[in-house]
Symmetry: C2
Subunit: 340 residues, 2 copies
């Protein structure tokens, strides 16, 4: 592996000059720069990350702390990971995987060893054991999700509260007076993953304002659970029933449960679900969806933390950014109030 000294020698300049050509932190004459760049090309030189980290006190690596909980929507988690990784590359950073099973100690480790310049935490819970640690780390930490007490932390997430509010408003405007929400999988609810509560708060708030009823039922990967929830919901509904099901993993089961009861979405039942646009369109009855903007959240998350890394002022920050969600009405809801 060639070093910057080799490049310097090949170009007939000092090693420091090579460094300045690369960083642009001091003026370099056109002639010299050409020579150095030619030498770099010639030797296919690439700076050594370890040495760079040591001398520059910057690794250009961001730690991504992911939970691997089988019950979660792995496919959508992957979407986050994918977008985070490629966005990080756009900011000239790399992503290091930190698995949940190391727990809070993992955070201390990667920061203590200075493997990472900063961290992104996913799947933040209301009372998360990682938070006290995160607050004391003297590197930027970005949470995807909003814990009960976000003080002293930098958070971003989809605006689940407005999402819940909007779903209820749209269904109410379509004429429904009783709206049933099928919740996330129990594993998610029980972990007190923060977004569940926020969604429900928004939905309940809208219901109160508009004078409609919102009822909650358990979700789950199990057909029996969904069947029971649907039956209870139908029994408690006057008029045309409406369902909101923001958990992607239960879409199929719900749809079949409704079909089994002779209900056709868009005709004698309204459904707002969650699915990629492609999948939503492919349904027998194209599904109205609430898009929780995973890609946009991921992009902004990386941007925020990279900005913090630039800022260099690693004192305690605090901020909260909510990404607007998007409801798309297709055919599974009655009389969509706004087109598309």
């Amino acid at each position: 592996m060639p070093t910057s000294k080799d490049v310097a020698q090949a170009a007939g300049v000092a090693q420091s000059t090579v460094s300045y050509v690369l960083s642009g932190k001091r003026p370099i004459s056109e002639k010299t720069r050409k020579k150095v760049e030619a030498a770099i090309e010639e030797l296919t030189y690439q700076p050594n990350a370890g040495a760079r980290a040591l001398a520059g006190r910057r690794t250009r690596v961001i730690g991504l702390v992911i939970p691997f909980i089988p019950e979660l929507e792995m496919a959508s988690l992957m979407e986050f990971v994918s977008v985070i990784a490629s966005t990080a590359r756009q900011f000239d950073h790399d992503i290091l995987l930190v698995t949940e099973d190391e727990g809070a100690a993992g955070l201390r480790r990667v920061v203590g060893q200075q493997i990472c310049d900063g961290l992104i935490l996913m799947q933040v819970e209301d009372e998360d054991e990682r938070l006290p640690v995160a607050r004391t780390l003297n590197v930027p930490v970005l949470l995807i999700g909003i814990p009960r007490d976000p003080s002293g932390l930098v958070c971003i997430d989809a605006d689940f509260e407005v999402a819940g509010d909007q779903c209820v408003r749209d269904l109410a405007a379509a004429g429904h007076s009783v709206i049933s929400i099928i919740e996330w999988q129990p594993a998610v609810v029980n972990r007190h993953v923060n977004y569940v509560d926020r969604f429900m708060r928004g939905a309940d708030g809208a219901a109160e304002t508009l004078g409609v009823a919102v009822q909650h039922f358990p979700g789950g990967a199990d057909v029996a659970i969904i069947s029971e929830s649907v039956d209870k919901a139908l029994a408690a509904t006057q008029g045309i029933p409406a369902f909101i099901a923001p958990d992607r993993t239960i879409q199929d089961i719900l749809r079949r449960a409704l079909a089994a009861r002779g209900l056709t979405p868009g005709v004698d039942v309204s459904v707002i679900g969650s699915a990629s646009p492609t999948l939503a369109e492919l349904q027998p009855v194209p599904l109205s969806t609430i898009d929780l903007r995973p890609k946009e959240v991921s992009r902004r998350a990386v941007k925020i933390i990279c900005d913090l890394l630039e800022a260099e002022n690693h004192g305690p920050h605090e901020s909260l950014e909510l990404v607007p969600t998007v409801i798309t009405h297709r055919s599974s809801t009655l009389r969509p109030p706004h087109g598309s």
Copy 2:
């Protein structure tokens, strides 16, 4: 951040002694070790990764090159990632994400900058642009998957050929003389992801040996495609039909297609599918499955590359390891030849 020099000072020894306490590469007296360990504890010292990499020419990081192709089974990909990451930790290594969109240049980058000591490549295709690069890198590279020409490469994967063979044998033994395979999603097949061909080779081979017929039909996330495949398969079948569907993403669609045609798995049709044991058990008719051992493949992959890293002999290696798959007969196949 405390350094080893700080620790040395606190313990009243030389910095090199601290280093030897940590590495164990030279004998240290009990007394001195205690002092040093106490100082480490006291200062919560953690060695600086950059300095360690620079001096020791080892980063203890493994690059994981993942494809993010929406059509793939993201959930099962995540299973690989998860197990790889935690296994790597057991070997005291970390995982750096390298996204596919950097292409082969990404490999050159992370190796050239010496961010990684080695690489794991996932989703290897028959003619993969990364392979020529991989062969010339002077770090260990481990492929999960087997390309058309594996010479000079270290590969591991599930034994898809035996899996195909075994599925056909079991169904033939259950009395089926015509067996229909619903293939992976077109996006997978078209990319010439190597395992598709291997599976089919095994299945076709067994069919020839046993004198039964195997027919292939396209898979897909689309209900229409599966419906058409099922209809064609049924039309071409004498006696009780049998299906093999190794792609996890099409299980639900296939099951519904069969139900819609009045067929009950285990009674008037046999089905070998693919799903986690939990999910398989939860089906209306518990699904017989072919387990492609993603966890075991991941674990062994990490072990192999860590062994190569230990070996230190980074000359060209070549090896091929196949992980046996497991067929579990539940209720969706006729007369299971071996129980449970």
